[in-house]
Symmetry: C2
Subunit: 364 residues, 2 copies
């Protein structure tokens, strides 16, 4: 392994990747892109090029240039139109535009395939990834990153597709406009693309990123895998690693899903089983799960995490994989503190998604 002067350095090997995909699938709150497809894509590159080094924000050299790369589009489309090396192309495009070379990569969201997206260009280029991300979960829109909430410029950013088209959003009046323009470009590119944002400094990453999230995802995945091997309940194992709460459990009865404006939007209906028998849960989603109502009453809402896992195996169930008959358990986790501030709620609280209700924090 290259010497990064780090004492706590770990590497994303194929085995760690498998754990991250499980953990990030859970933290992805239904979105972030299909974690299994993301794992397959990253595994191929790691198998060819070797594992990827992970540095904590504190271990980054002070002159580091950290590029956030990620996928953008509708997860429903992403399972049919699998990405290839668009994030590498987006990285090269933003390096070319800014004239600065990245020295580390960071995930935009520790959810679904986006948690592992930086691993692909990292393995291709030999760069390390940062043990942090811009959400500590997944969110559907580009501006919903702690980086931008806390003052890192969101432009310039590059968007690239698999065909060879690339666009640089050079300057926008606010991050919402970057989302708006990037989304319309992505729709034209076939609803699946990747982006890379202009390099951040180490100081910016330390101040604005959600730390330790790659480690958390790996630990979650390790716990699920170990519980399965030992025949223990994976749901309890998840809640031991990441404090949260069971919100509901039952059988998926209805999925009303549509791909609209570059998003997967819809509503999910679950009938309770076992201790939840006789009750119903309804979850509204926009790529990610946004609000969970049990018998009509809100029990968890953004930015808190609403996560669906298979009741038996604890595997993450993303919105695009939801279908009639699945047995799922819905877990709730408190949002990272960066999201529950006034600044955070303004960008990713209930009202940012059109819900005319105040945020009430999940109690665990």
């Amino acid at each position: 392994m290259r010497d990064y002067g780090s004492e706590n350095l770990w590497e994303v090997t194929e085995s760690a990747l498998e754990s991250i995909a499980i953990g990030a699938g859970i933290l992805g709150t239904g979105g972030g892109g299909n974690p299994y497809i993301g794992q397959l894509r990253a595994r191929q590159v790691i198998r060819e090029k070797g594992p990827v080094a992970v540095l904590s924000p504190e271990e980054l050299p002070d002159d580091a240039r950290v590029v956030c790369v990620g996928g953008i589009g509708a997860p429903t489309v992403g399972i049919e139109k699998v990405r290839d090396y668009q994030s590498y192309h987006a990285l090269r495009a933003i390096e070319d535009y800014t004239g600065e070379k990245a020295t580390a990569l960071i995930s935009n969201e520790i959810g679904g395939s986006n948690s592992v997206e930086p691993l692909i260009p990292a393995a291709m280029t030999g760069l390390p990834v940062v043990d942090a991300d811009g959400m500590g979960r997944a969110f559907p829109e580009f501006q919903m990153k702690t980086f931008f909430v806390y003052g890192v410029p969101c432009c310039p950013m590059a968007v690239a597709d698999e065909k060879g088209n690339s666009v640089v959003i050079r300057d926008t009046i606010n991050p919402q406009w970057a989302e708006r323009l990037a989304r319309s470009i992505t729709v034209q590119m076939g609803c699946v693309a990747c982006y890379a944002v202009a390099p951040m400094s180490a100081q910016q990453v330390r101040r604005t990123a959600v730390p330790n999230s790659l480690t958390l995802a790996r630990n979650l995945g390790d716990a699920v895998k170990q519980a399965r091997q030992e025949g223990r309940d994976p749901l309890s194992a998840i809640l031991e690693v990441c404090p949260g709460k069971e919100l509901f459990g039952g059988k998926v009865m209805d999925v009303d899903r549509r791909t609209a404006a570059g998003f997967a939007r819809g509503t999910l209906g679950i009938d309770g089983l076992d201790s939840w028998a006789g009750q119903k849960m309804e979850i509204e989603f926009q790529n990610e799960n946004l609000v969970a109502r049990r018998d009509g009453e809100i029990v968890c809402i953004v930015p808190d995490l609403i996560c669906a896992v298979g009741t038996d195996l604890g595997e993450p169930v993303t919105t695009e994989m939801m279908r009639y008959g699945l047995r799922v358990t819905i877990l709730g986790f408190p949002a990272p503190a960066l999201w529950t501030s006034d600044e955070g709620l303004a960008v990713a609280g209930p009202r940012a998604f059109g819900y005319d209700v105040d945020y009430v924090a999940l109690t665990v």
Copy 2:
């Protein structure tokens, strides 16, 4: 006037601008943006900053860097949401991206307001404009420029709006993709934006541009103004300057127009008057007039020019100004030779617009 070493140099003064707006309105085949609004916008800048020098392609210094600037969007929206200095912002964005300073500007199309769009940043910066353009008429889509048909790269190009957003389309697999991405960005920007393409060399301009078109537009406008003053028929004056043919004359009976996908699309119905009494003409348009049918039979089709002028005063009538009751005469002009080659017809012939007919050249 600055010394450009040119013997045939002329300047776009306020008076010349008025003539150009009339002539380019006619050559605009119904599109290119409202010529009167374009004139008002350019007049304000020329009044403040002084006239703009016009250089023929041959007079360009060999090391010239010529930037094509233009408006993009739906003319129907452009009359309500008037552009301001977006073309200047787009120029600066592409200079910034390429690291090259423009030494002259060129119009993308000698039609409507796009014929005078480069005059605004030219007057603001003191740069000359080239007496040439990329169409010799107007066309609705970005790739439909002789520059790109004959091998000039269409990327990078910058798109800017009036709010402060700017995007660089960095690389596309073909010019149609540049159109597709630029159009969707423009729709987000409010259906009206401006663009600037990476600098061309003098040699590229000489080889691929339609020459002398600014002079032609000015001469057409001068002829119309003079005929009006002398009480002569302005339509005859137009046909004396630019060989063409009267295709129809009558009263507008029906305009079926919609703003769709960033274009003004529709159909125009005219009932014949005077020598055309008892006959009907139908014209289909996409920003510009594409095909003219007289009693069901095609009498003129792209890339030949189908131009509507007021029957009495010879003023250009663009598609967004068409309304019931207007007395119009429809003139046809042969397309520039650059468009009637196989390469030209592939990009802007009838089939490029979805008409399953061969191009038949207008005979004059």
